[in-house]
Each structure stands twice: as C-alpha cells, then as structure tokens.
Symmetry: C2
Subunit: 232 residues, 2 copies
Amino acid sequence: MKISILGTGSVGQALAGRLSGLGHEVVMGTRDVAATLARTTPDGWGNPAIGTWAVANPQVKLATYAEAAAFSDSIIIHAMNGNAAIDSLKQAGEANLSGKILIDITNPLDFSKGFPPSLFISNTDSLGEQIQAAFPDLKVVKSLNTMSNPVMINPAAVPGDHTVFVNGNDADAKETVMDLLKSFGWEDRNILDLGDITMSRGVEMILPLWVRIYGKIQTPFFNFNVNIAPKA
Amino acid sequence: MKISILGTGSVGQALAGRLSGLGHEVVMGTRDVAATLARTTPDGWGNPAIGTWAVANPQVKLATYAEAAAFSDSIIIHAMNGNAAIDSLKQAGEANLSGKILIDITNPLDFSKGFPPSLFISNTDSLGEQIQAAFPDLKVVKSLNTMSNPVMINPAAVPGDHTVFVNGNDADAKETVMDLLKSFGWEDRNILDLGDITMSRGVEMILPLWVRIYGKIQTPFFNFNVNIAPKA
C-alpha cells in the first residue's frame, strides 16, 4: 500500500521503518521538508533526529503534509504531537484527506507546566472527536496511542497478552486498521474495539497513568492488558 | 483489627463481608442508620439493599460516620460515591480520623448527564488529593478504585496476573494497606506503588476507560494488568 505518516518524530520514524519493512511505500509529511531534514540533534531520549534517520532510511521520502496526504491510497497515520494535530490536517488539506482512513495516534498532552503532563482536552471531549468533527470526510480510527512506539510496531517487545484499543465511527475503516495491526504482530484476541469515536475519551485519559507508570518503572517496554475472566 | 467502612453500597458490602470473613471486626458508617437499614430494594445491578444485607450479615454493625470512624483502630475504608466523599469525612469528624489510614476507593464519577459518566475532578487535580488536603492528619492511600468490587476482594476472580495500584504520601500507611491487599489474595508482584497522593490523577482518570470496557464486554470480572518486559 501507499501509506503516509504525518509527523517525523520517534513515533513516525518507528512506524515508517516498520511499514517500509513490510513492503509498503511510505511518505512522511512535515511542515517544511528542508528544515526537517536539517535536524540532526538526537532528542532527549537519545532517538535520532529525523535528518539523521532519513539518511539511514532512504526508502522513506519526506514531503509536505499536503503531498504526503495526497500520496496515500488509503491509510494516513497521524503521528503528530497533540498540540499540532489539527493544524497538520488543515495543512494536508481536505481534498487530500477525503475518504481516507486516519489512524490517529495523537494524545492531547500538555507539557507546558512540566512533567507529568496534563491533558489539554479531556473528560467531556477528546482529540479524536475533535479531529473527526473538523474533518467529517476522514475516517478517523483512534489506535496505538496508549503505548510506546517500540511496542506499537512489535507487540512481542512485551511478553504475554496485552491490549491495543481501536475505536472509530466507520466499521470498514476499523477492519482495515485491525488488519494493519495484525501485520505488526498483534493477535486478534488482543485487539479491543471499544466502539465509536467518542470512546477516544477513555483511551486518551489513560495517558496520565501511562506517563506515571513510565516514570516509576523507567522502561517504555510495557503495556496495559485488559484481563477478562471467561464467562461462566 | 477494628476496621471501619464509610459507605454501605455494594463496594462497602463486599469489603465488609470479606474483612469480617478474615476475622476483623467491621463497622460500616452511614449518614442515618435507621434510614439506611430501612432500604430493602435491590439496586439496578441486582445487588441487595443494605437493609437486606445487614440482616444476612449480623456480625457487621452499622453506625454513624463519626461512630464508625471512632471505632477504627487504624484503617478506615472509604467506599462512598465520589460526590459524597468529602462530606462523609466531615461528618466523621477530624478528631475521629486523625492519624488513621484512609483507603480511598472513591472515584469522582459524574453520572448527572447519564452514561458513560464524566469526572467532576480530573487532570490537574484528583479526589484523592482533595481528600488529603482537606484532612491533613489522615493518611490517605488511594487503592482499589480501578476495578469492580468482586475483583477487589478476590483477585482470583480474574485469571492470571493483574494490577492493583497504590499511592499515597505515607510509606508506612502504604505498607499496611499492601498487607491488607495481600490478605485478600493480591500477590506482591501485582501491587504497583505509583508514588505520592498526586498519582491519584492517573488512577482516577482511567475510570472513563473502565466504564467503556465494562459497557463493551458486559462483565465486571476484568481488570487492567500492567505488563512489563523484564529488563535486559
């Protein structure tokens, strides 16, 4: 497939590498391609800057948000920081998004007051819902936002069963996303479809716990499992 | 031990039954003992009303919040609805609470707009923190609020490993609470101490996901597990 990824940070890089490894053609979207490629300072976690990463991964092309969105034949992955999420889609342009599936990994994390972050949307609304409302012709499927990027692309990085949540309004779009998840190694039994896009509230609101657990255990190699007793 | 439980709903009943079965003396606190004992209509989930339950469990006495708090020799369990949480403690009275451990199971759930509920405190504050701030001489330990009451008192109700979170400012109080959890059957490896009382934000904010999962799978016999990869 021709898959585009909006966002060139560590989440976007991990997904781009994984998808191209699976044989997909991948284009990453960014605001200013030249400025993005000029970045070579690793982030605070030691992840390579996108300029360095792009040299090592020449099969993945960078383009503007609009070019990247136009390139996708079906799936666009939304790997932006939450505070730039809506704007990246505006720049991508409705015509380039219409009818396509957006796998929305964004979280409304507000680091402006330091760590741990709060959420800038929560409780009675969610970023997933705001994106769907702003782009009604886009099929928004929220998923993968509740774990670190090494776990997203390789669930075997965490032993045993653990859960990836999926929610969105379009059943066919969710099926397509679940197929992509399975290609990453996710088992059917560990994919939990919660329902429509309003369910984004629940999955976005576990991020505050996620970051606290991360702070406590000091490894990104963990995930939540929903452990359910078999019905009697 | 002499343990008191504030709240006579299904959570309070489950804990009172379990604790008295373990040999503890248990008193449940309520606003108006006579009015509480007069309730005999089961709740919407089919749980017995407290009046019916009390007849079947004569070893557990009902008392006012103040009498119940005074009865406790160390541990008070806070099994109130979130919107009555602070008021129950005001009625219990600071003198009866001072120096004691409060196991705070309350959640700031707001059902006023129907299901699923939102939270009436979240994100930059929590009910656990508000309780600790209002009663500084109480050793508030948040725990057990992230699961259904049959799972709280019997973790074996859900197969495999799954997590109970603990957080609070007093290390000794947390140890006492963890010992009580172990007496319910919780294994050391499944008890995750997140840190101080501000960590209540994280564990209270997963309730919106909890209620959505419950709505989806239609059984209270589930729990979150934090599945962590062993360090390399």
